[in-house]
Point group: C2
Chain length 191, copies 2
């Protein structure tokens, strides 16, 4: 045992239910911490700065990129998202495992960086189900909805980038699968 | 999904408690089947032919080896053990996952064969605990006991051959970890 925690990268299309699954997992696993992403998008009414995201302006985001402070960053639907490197390293050094809720572009960057991480893709049971879930959120215009669905298709085509796939059909089962992946990764022999 | 089940190779030193863990796992998982090994050793009083092992003589074992019928085979403490290839293939084709309770030499052969399998090493909390467990079985002479402990040391030194390590300290926890590994492997994306 190296005393260094592991990194769980969880990605999947917008609307697939990643955050809900991760929140459930985090609640029952005190050894797992959440990596708070930095974003340039506007907070939704219920969002508190520093919880799900740190909200910054474009200039601050660009500064972090230039300074090499981000483990990955991506442009998604016109907004920038990134993972600050330092909190991840600090939690790992403290022996915690850390999960990243990021998009597929970001997952590819973490993979390419050679980081020792486990990559999980959350997928919907079908594209029709994903479309229905996005519609129900009522947060997107029809154009935005179409754009998200097209992005989802592109993302799901990149499943070979990932180690694991979890189908979010039954939420309880999907959480159990995520939990099993985390437990298994804790038993993994890293050479 | 290919419809083809996966292979779970479980190995570990004699006396570590592999069979007990696997039996518990098998009882609660109808999708998992057990691969019955062939052996030339004598059955113990409580052993029924065809359950934990198929008991054969040296000539029949040698015939199976020559005919290429075994996925792996090994000489352990003077007795031969092997995994018949056909039942494994048949269960997999029927969509079942199959677990192999074999020794480290055998695990190495399955690994070298390039078979798509997950390899789990069951380890004792310490060598002292393993020695105590072997003593309590009262089935070995002092010379046999010493030989088993020496073999255990050699086996445990080969942990890099394996994907996962499960410490059999608390039985319930070890079974849960084995179950999590199986669940995670079922979510694994095979490219």
């Amino acid at each position: 045992m190296s005393g260094s925690g592991l990194v769980l990268v969880v990605a999947g299309p917008s609307g697939v239910g990643k955050s809900t699954l991760l929140n459930r997992l985090l609640k029952t696993d005190p050894r797992l911490k959440f990596s708070v992403s930095m974003t340039t998008r506007e907070p939704r009414p219920d969002e508190v700065d520093g919880q799900a995201y740190c909200f910054v302006d474009g200039r601050e985001f660009e500064r972090a990129v230039s300074a090499g402070e981000l483990l990955e960053h991506a442009l998604v639907h016109g907004h920038r998202y990134g993972t600050p490197r330092r909190p991840v390293a600090e939690q790992q050094a403290a022996g915690f495992d850390i999960c990243l809720d990021i998009d597929v572009q970001g997952a590819r960057q973490v993979r390419d960086s050679g980081a020792d991480a486990a990559f999980v893709l959350i997928v919907p049971p079908s594209m029709a189900v994903l479309e229905e879930r996005l519609r129900k959120r009522h947060t997107e215009s029809p154009e935005e909805l179409a754009r998200r669905l097209e992005t989802a298709r592109v993302e799901l085509a990149q499943r070979d980038l990932f180690d694991y796939e979890v189908v979010n059909e039954q939420r309880g089962r999907a959480v159990a699968e995520l939990r099993a992946i985390l437990t298994a990764e804790r038993c993994r022999i890293r050479s």
